[in-house]
Amino acid sequence: MLSLIPSPTIQFKPLFPSKTIKPLKPFSSKSSIQSVLQWNRKPELAGETPRVVVITSGKGGVGKTTTTANVGLSLARLGFSVVAIDADVGLRNLDLLLGLENRVNYTVVEVLNGDCRLDQALVRDKRWSNFELLCISKPRSKLPLGFGGKALTWVVEALKSRQEGSPDFILIDCPAGIDAGFITAITPANEAVLVTTPDITSLRDADRVTGLLECDGIRDIKMVVNRVRTDMIKGEDMMSVLDIQEMLGLALLGVIPEDSEVIRSTNRGYPLVLNKPPTLAGLAFEQAAWRLVEQDSMKAVMVEEEPKRRGFFSFFGG
């Protein structure tokens, strides 16, 4: 879940040149790695670029869009170029979480219709210039379902061959459910991040979605357990993360504790991984991003215990 915060703040100077293609446009970030925690190394990118990852859940409201925004910005802050695609055709939210809602003028539908080019539809984040947002459509437009999946595949191919260079990560924010929007979103993906919460309804939907992903050929599926309450787990009112893993049988990418800062960050349009000082949920998102880069998974989780009682009169408390 969370590791201890390392005390030294060591600036990392890369000894070896990055293997990824450097974009022509200058980044606003410095050469040293930027992250909430000052790690003594940069995560090593594993797998073929671009890594096309779909973030799905099945059940709505579990935190897919929040995970996409925070993990995406964490990746950008670690120095990787990221394109986040909001594949929710009817209910677009990713731009709101990122605070970019006033800058979305064109979407993929306009690109398909020939109203603009693909680079004109990409919205570059001013805070981290290596993070870009692409929305599928505006709420009132209708997407022909016949080639929704094809269209997204074309978009991914076009991003790979663009002049600035292929992005390192393409994150696709999948809509809730398992109908046309879900089918469109998972079409170009090579791997999946399944977001779930520790309740039985979410787990059942997550299991169904995992089955559909495996039927569609996506085998690399990792799980993020969101909105975890360690006090309720300690009191046996909530399933533990190990119980969830036992039910779903998926590797753990991250465990995100319940944090009221999520609501505030949504209201501000400022993802909570950028908060200073960082929150526990922000730290957890950054660690999940780290594991995503290295294609790693969690090896242990932290379980809350009763604090040691001290003093002669401590037992009077009951």
Binding site: K142, Q245, M302
Partner: protein, 349 residues
């Protein structure tokens, strides 16, 4: 205020008989300490109990004398410290009280043991009520959603450096750590590759799903050579999905892959507008002198000539046949537009 008190109690010798007329017992506590002595206190009320023996002796008198108790109850003393000390003085010494009042010690012991018992019972009730809370993980175990063999892990597992992070320090004695005011312990992941494979097989048996490739409106017929499992029905009033495919796929793909230049629709609209304007121009000039677009340069050159030239009006191409002399500027605007549009067409990739 710390003051060391030393109590000196001169034991009284209580005779077995008390005088019927007078019973005075006078005891005197002499308090000696570094700062305070009782002698300076003024006493208004003195409780004197005098036990008179049958045989009065000098020793008894001395004992009585030494055993005088002067209880100061000066109503006029307003010092709280003095009041507190007076209260203490009025109390009998604890040791002697305990020796004398065995019943009160028993009461104290009884109350302490009762309090301890209450605490134990309360803790037991709280723990028991916790298990009886509705909607807990026990309900999930009862319903068969969770395995029951995981319950009851009491001893924390010893684990060192699970994140391979040299900055994470875990004690060798136990695996607990404190963070943000709470105590945590590390529980290792127990999922194995075999268990993952079992889950994948279970899901492949449970969920048979084929990717839908045909989207039809409700009421449409399924084409004969299409697998029904790949057909997805879309209602006509779907808020954001449509089965109507008005866009040419090849064209859409080209639009997506376009890297530079004017987007297709913008260019198409621009061309359409251009054609419309040309058509309007041609229509307006049907009744006028026909202007060959290839000679547009000549017209421009003519315009660039000295405006004070004395060319006859009938030779001026801008002159309308009706005889009205048109100003060159309104005529130049469409020509300029035409030239611009032609230049744009030249620049198109």
């Amino acid at each position: 205020m710390a003051s060391i008190w030393t109590l000196q109690f001169h034991s009284l010798y209580f005779p077995h008989r008390v005088s019927s007329t007078v019973a005075k017992l006078r005891t005197e506590f002499t308090l000696s300490q570094g700062r305070l002595s009782l002698n300076r206190w003024s006493t208004n009320r003195k409780f004197q109990l005098k036990a008179v023996r049958d045989s009065a002796s000098s020793n008894e008198d001395q004992n009585l004398e030494s055993g005088k108790v002067a209880v100061a109850a000066d109503t006029k003393t307003k010092d709280p410290v003095a009041k507190f000390q007076e209260t203490l003085i009025s109390l009998p010494p604890v040791a002697f009280v305990m020796k004398r009042h065995t019943r009160s010690s028993f009461a104290i012991g009884l109350s302490l043991s009762t309090a301890f018992l209450v605490i134990v019972v309360r803790a037991f009730i709280v723990r028991r009520s916790r298990y009886n809370r509705p909607g807990s993980v026990e309900d999930l175990v009862r319903r068969g959603q969770l395995r029951s063999d995981r319950r009851g892990i009491s001893r924390p597992l010893k684990y060192e450096d699970p994140f391979n992070n040299p900055l994470v320090k875990v004690g060798k004695s136990n695996s607990t750590m404190e963070m943000c005011g709470k105590v945590y312990r590390l529980a290792p992941i127990t999922l194995t590759k075999e268990q993952q494979t079992i889950h994948q097989k279970r899901r492949s048996r449970a969920y048979q799903w084929k990717r839908p490739t045909i989207f039809l409106k409700e009421g449409d017929l399924i084409p004969p050579d299409v697998d029904p499992d790949t057909v997805r029905w879309i209602p006509a009033n779907h808020p954001f999905a449509t089965t109507a495919n008005d866009i040419d796929e090849d064209l859409a793909q080209n639009n997506v892959y376009q890297k530079q230049g004017v987007p297709f629709r913008i260019r198409a609209e621009h061309e359409a507008l251009q054609k419309k304007l040309e058509a309007l121009q041609n229509e307006q000039k049907l009744n006028k002198l026909v202007i060959d677009s290839s000679n547009a340069k000549d017209f421009e050159r003519a315009f660039k000539l000295n405006p004070k030239s004395e060319e006859p009006l009938d030779q001026n191409p801008f002159v309308n046949q009706s005889g009205d002399l048109r100003p060159p500027r309104p005529d130049q605007a469409p020509n300029g537009y035409d030239s611009n549009s032609s230049s744009e067409e030249m620049q198109k990739p």
